[in-house]
């Protein structure tokens, strides 16, 4: 008899989800899915509210990456004001965004995934967590707690609180940086760098144990998409999109984020609240793309800071073509924390960072605004329209985790097929199904959002892949 195996809830991820695996009569894997089970409807309930509320309200989408929503939302509001914000405000927003990359990646790596990597995919589930790590490898667990804390403390020093700060506002930031806070931040960052280098050394040392996981954790050709700057280096705040294939050839570049609707399309599945975007010109099979830390490393030509670049070169030289396995999201996350620590120091050392001019004041001058940034998990888009009084008419959010939905589902199927050979299923197999999802570090409280009244093209497919409904708005 055929049977369905369900993992509910998926643990050590940020959000509510289930995994189902469909087995045939011989116990072979037929299909597998990743189901997201939460939806809140921010696009609906923000209608009619003043646009100035959006940064603080939209930050409540996610307690892990509220800063990314603050930044993308405030950028969309800058566009409504039609102002160019002061350069120091841009630099300060960059710093808080990078502090968030640091704390969020530290959460993903140390609190959520390191138990699998340190204690083993088959370790006792009762100990396979940060507290089990504290008991057996206290130095590494303490390093992780400290690294996340440094990122959070920088956010607090800038924004006034660690979670849901309100300091990033339409037109810039609400208060300039003080000399005293700058010195405190600069004093903390070398420790973050040292912790990250220790973690990298440890991680590189254990990678040889994970050949099976590297081979099967969403390891297939796909596109990769991320923002890059004019020199094709890592970019988390501005820049343009670049899309490359798994072998590194460029599919598109200098894509203007403001024109996202011309090249991103979304599909709805009946079994998940999370929609699946894809790159429109190539269709939904060939157009599957991945975003986030690994995508950013693969899409850019270099990081743009010395120590991160040397780690990136070593990673590329060691793993060659295998570097596109999603298992390496963990590796990319560590390299990106290193980049963030270096880049924050560069930004903080610029004398202009203490300038008191940090906010442009204006009334709304445009009725439509789009804001884009790289969140820890990938490209994030906020798109608002307002009426003459500045009240929200519509909001569209495309959230980092959504971009990875097609690849996460393919990844769950690949892991299931790789490890499950008959109906005999072990805890270690089930944990690997969850671990492939953890590699992507999805943020599901963020991700279940969608188009709203925007001119987007939506397609609905049946189980056989045929289009059963289609809308163009």
């Amino acid at each position: 008899m055929s049977q369905r195996v369900t993992i509910d809830p998926v643990t050590r991820i940020e959000g509510h989800a289930r995994i189902t695996v469909q087995l045939d009569e011989a116990g072979r894997v037929e299909d597998a899915h990743f189901h997201v089970t939460q939806v809140r409807g921010f696009e609906k309930f923000c209608e009619g509210r003043p646009f100035t509320e959006m940064p603080s309200l939209m930050a409540r989408i996610c307690g892990i990456c509220p800063v990314s929503h603050l930044v993308a939302s405030s950028k969309a509001c800058d566009a409504l004001l039609a102002v160019r914000i002061p350069p120091t405000a841009v630099a300060l927003r960059r710093i808080i965004n990078l502090a968030q990359v640091m704390q969020s990646h530290a959460l993903s790596f140390f609190y959520l995934s390191a138990p699998d990597l340190l204690l083993g995919m088959d370790a006792d589930p009762a100990r396979r967590n940060i507290f089990g790590m504290l008991a057996e490898h206290p130095e590494l667990a303490r390093d992780g707690i400290r690294l996340r804390s440094i990122g959070q403390q920088i956010i607090e020093m800038l924004g006034g609180k660690r979670i849901h700060p309100a300091w990033v506002v339409p037109g810039g930031v609400s208060e300039p940086l003080t000399e005293e806070k700058r010195e405190r931040m600069l004093a903390m960052l070398p420790e973050a760098r040292d912790i990250t280098l220790r973690a990298l050394a440890w991680f590189k040392g254990v990678l040889s144990r994970y050949e099976q996981e590297i081979a099967s954790f969403a390891n297939f050709p796909s596109l990769f998409m991320a923002l890059v700057n004019d020199a094709n280096e890592l970019e988390h705040y501005d820049g343009s999109w670049r899309i490359v294939t798994s072998d590194g050839s460029v599919v598109a570049e200098r894509l203007d984020p403001l024109r996202y609707q011309t090249f991103i399309e979304e599909q709805v599945e009946n079994w998940t609240y999370l929609k699946s975007p894809y790159y429109k010109p190539l269709g939904r099979q060939e157009g599957m793309y991945r975003v986030g830390p690994l995508a950013r490393l693969l899409v850019s030509e270099r990081c743009g800071t010395p120590e991160a670049d040397s780690e990136r070169e070593e990673f590329f030289a060691t793993y060659g073509e295998a570097r596109t396995s999603s298992f390496f999201y963990h590796y990319a996350r560590l390299i990106e924390i290193l980049y963030a620590s270096e880049r924050m120091q560069m930004l903080l050392r610029d004398p202009d960072i203490l300038s008191p001019r940090v906010r442009a004041h204006a009334e709304p001058n445009q009725l439509e605004g789009i804001g884009v940034a790289e969140a820890p998990r990938g490209t994030l888009i906020h798109h608002y329209t307002i009426d003459e009084h500045g009240l929200i008419r519509s909001a569209n959010l495309i959230i980092a985790t959504g971009h990875n939905n097609l690849a996460m589902n393919r990844g769950v199927l690949q892991v299931a097929q790789h490890f499950i050979k008959d109906a005999h299923i072990t805890d270690g197999m089930l944990n690997r199904l969850e671990a492939v999802i953890r590699a992507f570090d999805p943020c599901l409280s963020c991700s279940t959002h969608a188009l709203g009244e925007m001119p987007l093209h939506l397609q609905v497919f049946d189980a056989g892949g045929a289009v059963v409904d289609e809308r163009v708005r």
Binding site: T20, Q38, N270
Partner: protein
Amino acid sequence: MSAHPMSKVSVATVWLDGCSGCHMSFLDMDERLIELVSSIEIVYSPIVDTKQFPERVDLTLVEGSVSSEDDLEKIKLIREHTRVLVALGDCAVTGNVPSMRNPFGPEKVLRHVYLRHAPSEIVPRLLPKVLPVHQVVAVDAFLPGCPPPADVIYFALTELLAGRVPDLSSSTRFGK
């Protein structure tokens, strides 16, 4: 809530319909987490791998409001198996941001997001109204804040562990 000398106080943390910010604030206790785990054991939480809510839990912190049929089933089960239940953060205490959908109702929200094709297989149905936890089950202590600061969570936990009901009137407020 003094523990048996040999056994630790069992603590669960649960995330219903919220943003995980309260859980992040819990983790913001940083190194104090290391000190806490000498007297408590986290038996169920998004950050550990237990899939079933345990038979008996001394203290459960609940983040988020009750928004779906899953949340409803979960919170009733949790109440039944928990000695002291704490509503952690504004969504659990008042409904907060998730309840902003209440004036529209779930159908309008789903239609807005998915057009006519709201997902219906395996995913839980949304309730007609988003509810704060205390409208569904009895709550023993309330910890407001969006999120409650880590210092306040730490203070509340240590008070509860010492068998006292924490007085939070001066340390946190809604939206803080």
